[in-house]
Symmetry: C2
Subunit: 234 residues, 2 copies
Amino acid sequence: MSGILYGIGVGPGDGQLLTIRAYRLLTGAKVIAVPVKKYGESSRALNIIRETVDVAGKTIVELEFPMARQKSVLEESHKMAARKISAWLDQGEDVMLITLGDVSVYSTCTYVLDKIRQMGYPIRIIPGIPSFCSGAALAGLSLAEGDEKLAVLSSLGESSEIEKILDDFDNVVLMKAGRQMENIEKILEEKGLLKNATVICNAGMEDMYIGPVDGSREYGYFTTLIVKKGSREL
Amino acid sequence: MSGILYGIGVGPGDGQLLTIRAYRLLTGAKVIAVPVKKYGESSRALNIIRETVDVAGKTIVELEFPMARQKSVLEESHKMAARKISAWLDQGEDVMLITLGDVSVYSTCTYVLDKIRQMGYPIRIIPGIPSFCSGAALAGLSLAEGDEKLAVLSSLGESSEIEKILDDFDNVVLMKAGRQMENIEKILEEKGLLKNATVICNAGMEDMYIGPVDGSREYGYFTTLIVKKGSREL
């Protein structure tokens, strides 16, 4: 009988925000599959679970997901990941594929989970805390209340698109906003929404920044912007 | 010195999806504040934590949040909740206010947290797994990949509004969709999106239903609909 592939969301970067289910599965696991940008590079997801899970003696299988946009490169990396995982499943071992944040929200792992499912193996998904929820918690903001509408975007398309979403939604979360911050700042300024925006940068890390958009800052990969239009009247 | 109010998301209805942080805080707590619809009624949030946290000997403070829409009634319930909590904080006790799912996503507790913060007490927010993430996990769906846009709505306004969002977004989550399912089904049918919709009803409960929209079913309060337009090409 083949093993089961578990897709496990390990949360936003804080070992204490692992769920009890994830903790127990990972503690009991023999094989943990870990996404890396390049073989041999450290994995943030692995570092998160190390805070609470003893990984000594476990087999860590690195899956290389290069930061590429070419379909052929991505396709090849997903195929290779599926091959590595299925080899373990064929031996009857369960594999724990860990991923930052939640599994369903902008995770590369969903491609691999789907591939493995299409190959006929059983999969299970264990949700994790999405980074925008922990960001909102750290910033002390609500993302949606009552009848409010929430939009979540992971990458900014045309400026006109982001303008439209800011017009249509009460609350907007822009993930991975770092590289486009200059453009976002301009749009927010034009709409008079700069005061409604909170940046959450490198949440949980030493150089964490939570505060207003500040054009003089450098914003890295882990930058989330929350724009909250609604003002509450109690 | 006053105590701290912790707003703790306990996840979607599965004690194993509590985070380690929530588990530790609740295990160490003396006072747990629990939202109920009516005094004396059972609290889903409390039942969730009971699965893993021993609450014997702890003080359980019920906060009544009636299912009303009148501003004055809601305002009165938030004031009363703040009064009860601040009485404990004044004695130097920390209070753990538990809430279903995540704290920032459509939680009644945010009103109370804000009120307590305005009164000058310290607050901390501990995020939890939002119900739509666990719903997606149970249904084996991704909510957003790559450049996809995700919209989350907790209540349906005009039909024209939901039509617009279905046009503009790749993936749409409709929470608390139960009462409006007939209208939603009509809209989805007109747009040819019925096949893209998955209902997650009473997730984790005995009468859980995950599957296509089925007009012959009764849908209760804990009904989430995920509409996923994007089809992945690998």
